[in-house]
Symmetry: C2
């Protein structure tokens, strides 16, 4: 492999880049390469998506992204296509950013990345580099992707081509802003390939670029940091359920513990959603099973977080019971659909799970989420205003901690309502001391009380 | 209860303080009260301890502590006694700092604090305040200690006397230095009692003093922050064992993950020791069982950490096996006895567990720990120097990450040794790239290799 040649292309900004997958990770990645002055091709199997992108339209609700899309199209730095062959033939570096979800049985599905690897393998030329940004298990690149490319290309890793892991570490809602701030982890199929890709990322990001020894190590880094979050949220969920039984307010406890220098707060809630956290643990579990090892903690954390919608259901039933009502026939106002605050994204959102459970119990559901105003989300209509969703409600359930919900005037709601306001605050966003008189309130880890 | 009177005593530094238990927590606490100008009585059941303290001698190896002990004795601000009656009769505030260990079956033993509470109860006067600094489960103060005091005194909580939790948050080795830095958590039997004790602590510490709503909440804060550590160390131990099987270096992974803004590093090792962490989880488990709740994560974390000495034994056997040796008859050099770095303390130290297991397998053990030079620790003699403990060794096992061990000249050891150096680094303190040629090396989460 001619490392010097590729290094030259990087330095002279003559390197051509193809990004496979133009979704929430692939599109920002492609745009950042283009913005840095590299001729970039965005590739996807979704024709409508590609047509929209050519017309400067994107469904991805990331601050700053539409402006960059428009700019790099105008500057002729990016093109979008469904033609994989064209993209592979016209690029030096190929970046894979495809979904790697888990199925209903929690089995990781890596077929999208396998498909791209196979297509790349068939057309691969000497001195091309493949970078994977998709989240995969630590062994995936070395034991699955590199063999697929070698078999389909008849070329040899490191002698003829290079492979690198540079797992995305994006924070949805802050992807553009974080681009120059959050360090990237690079693990190459050889030390030379790694060094080269470090150089490349230095050209597109001002953030720290950290080289690790192998692609698998880079993926392990990504999974470790996300599983750290999943486990710590699970721990706080475990504490929340226990402290509620002991009559202790979990929010007060976490606030207290946060004054200790070596404590990092995480918060209980209705569960853990999004494309990464609920799936990443299962990648590790998959690799662990292959070496006859059961990662108990990681597994238990998943179970705890997955059961939180059921815990919220119990809170709702208890709160209604407090006012002599059943779920069946009651009007439940759901506040928030997104899996995290201040973004428009319902991927694996625990709110959807709670709504499904409410539906099974024949509750009447009224939804308000300012990010989905007037839309229909997976069959559920979202109201046009907070006021509309509160009409005749028997119980308000906060499922997302959107900033808009903190400022809701509970006193006014209480005043306008003909009946007792019942509030189930699964994100513990309200201060008990600020709640209006006569409201029935509970949270995850906060016992039910009439104020 | 005459809150105004006690507040006056606090402000005028006329308050008299008795501290029950003059060990690792009680002694510094008593000294700090005395140093702040409050007449203080240190009480213990151990006559020898009290005699030593009167002679300005302490076994507690805390930087700065002997100087303060000497100073407050000279200034006549402190006295030490085994006479509980004298202490109770001559104090306004009584602080309990006694051990609350778990027994061999992991059952929390709160008899020491119960005993003190009973003695206090029998002699209690109106307007006295009891503060507990000992680690206990969240329900202990409200459901065990206050009732014991009420029954024995025939006085009524809050009407006649006050109780407060202010759990110690000491970091052994840094207790004096942290006194004015680490926030304290105060939960009183009433809001007034809490406020008063906040005022008191402001007079003896420059740190933030945080009032929480109940004594149980204060204890929950303490347990939550320690269990957070136990769980995260367990998670890294789980990752370590898995990554070693996958051929990935856990230290490299943790270093990589630490570049993410929301990741807090914890480190794998031979287990978790000390008086707090291994016990605190069982306090929570005890309270949880009483309300029919099983905290799976907290329990699993304990199991993982408790099994780490067995993991280290496996590493030692594998490393010896690499050089065709059995444990039986081999000379094993143990580096480090303390449960944590840079302190002299072997309470529940995983090093002792590893030594016990080595002993069972009839290995010949040579120990070096600079903090126990030439001493006999639980029947094991500690050498007089590193060199002495290395004589004819077959395997060096690092069990504590004392700063002295980082600088060991492995190259020189390798040169002087007639055989291959085998190094089991259970704290992963050495950089692989700095290891001398021909050494056989492994760590917790770092696969065995001959360099």
């Amino acid at each position: 492999m001619d490392i010097a040649k590729i290094n030259n292309l990087i330095e002279n900004h003559e390197l051509k880049v193809a990004v496979f997958g133009t979704g929430r990770i692939g599109l920002p990645t492609a745009l950042m390469y283009a913005k840095a002055g590299y001729k970039t091709i965005g590739v996807d199997i979704n024709e409508n998506l590609i047509r929209d992108l050519r017309n400067k339209k994107t469904f991805i609700d990331e601050p700053g992204l539409p402006e960059i899309l428009s700019e790099v199209i105008d500057r002729n730095l990016i093109e979008f296509t469904i033609d994989f062959e064209y993209a592979i033939k016209n690029s030096n570096v190929m970046i894979i950013c495809v979904p790697t979800p888990v199925n209903q049985n929690k089995i990781p599905i890596f077929t999208a990345i396998e498909d791209v690897a196979k297509k790349i393998g068939i057309l691969l030329r000497k001195d091309q580099i493949v970078i994977n940004e998709s989240s995969v298990s630590p062994t995936t690149i070395e034991t699955l992707i590199i063999p697929i490319i070698e078999q389909n290309s008849n070329l040899k890793i490191n002698d003829d081509f290079g492979v690198c892991s540079c797992p995305e570490r994006a924070d949805p809602g802050n992807i553009v802003d974080n681009w120059d701030k959050v360090a990237r982890i690079v693990g190459g199929s050889s030390d030379d390939v790694g060094k080269m890709i470090v150089k490349l990322y230095h050209n597109i990001s001002k953030a720290e670029i950290v080289q690790v020894s192998t692609p698998g190590t880079a993926n392990a880094v990504k999974l470790t940091e996300n599983i750290f979050r999943d486990v710590n949220i699970a721990l706080m969920n475990e504490f929340a359920v226990l402290y509620e039984k002991l009559g202790i307010d979990v929010k007060e406890v976490i606030r207290g513990s946060s004054t200790k220098y070596n404590f990092q707060p995480h918060y209980p809630g209705p569960g853990v959603g999004g494309p990464c956290l609920p799936a990443n643990s299962y990648y590790i579990i998959k690799d662990a099973i292959n070496v006859d090892y059961i990662p108990f903690m990681i597994r238990v954390a998943r179970e705890i977080n997955d059961r939180m919608p059921a815990v919220v259901m119990e809170l709702i039933q208890n709160a209604l019971n407090f006012t002599h009502k059943s779920l069946k026939g009651s009007i439940i106002t759901v506040l928030g659909l997104s899996y995290k605050a201040n973004i428009k994204d319902v991927q694996i959102s625990p709110a959807l799970k709670v709504i499904q459970l409410l539906n099974e119990k024949q509750a009447n559901i009224q939804i308000w989420d300012p990010y989905y105003k007037g839309e229909n989300v997976l069959g559920y209509p979202v109201g046009n205003s907070l006021e509309e969703s509160l009409q005749n409600t028997d119980c308000i359930v906060v499922l997302t901690d959107h900033k808009e919900f903190y400022d809701i005037d509970l006193k006014k709601i209480q005043k306008n309502m003909q009946k007792t306001v019942v509030l189930v605050d699964s994100r513990n966003i309200y201060e008990i001391s600020n709640l209006p008189q006569n409201i029935v309130y509970c949270g995850v880890g906060r016992k039910i009380r009439k104020i």
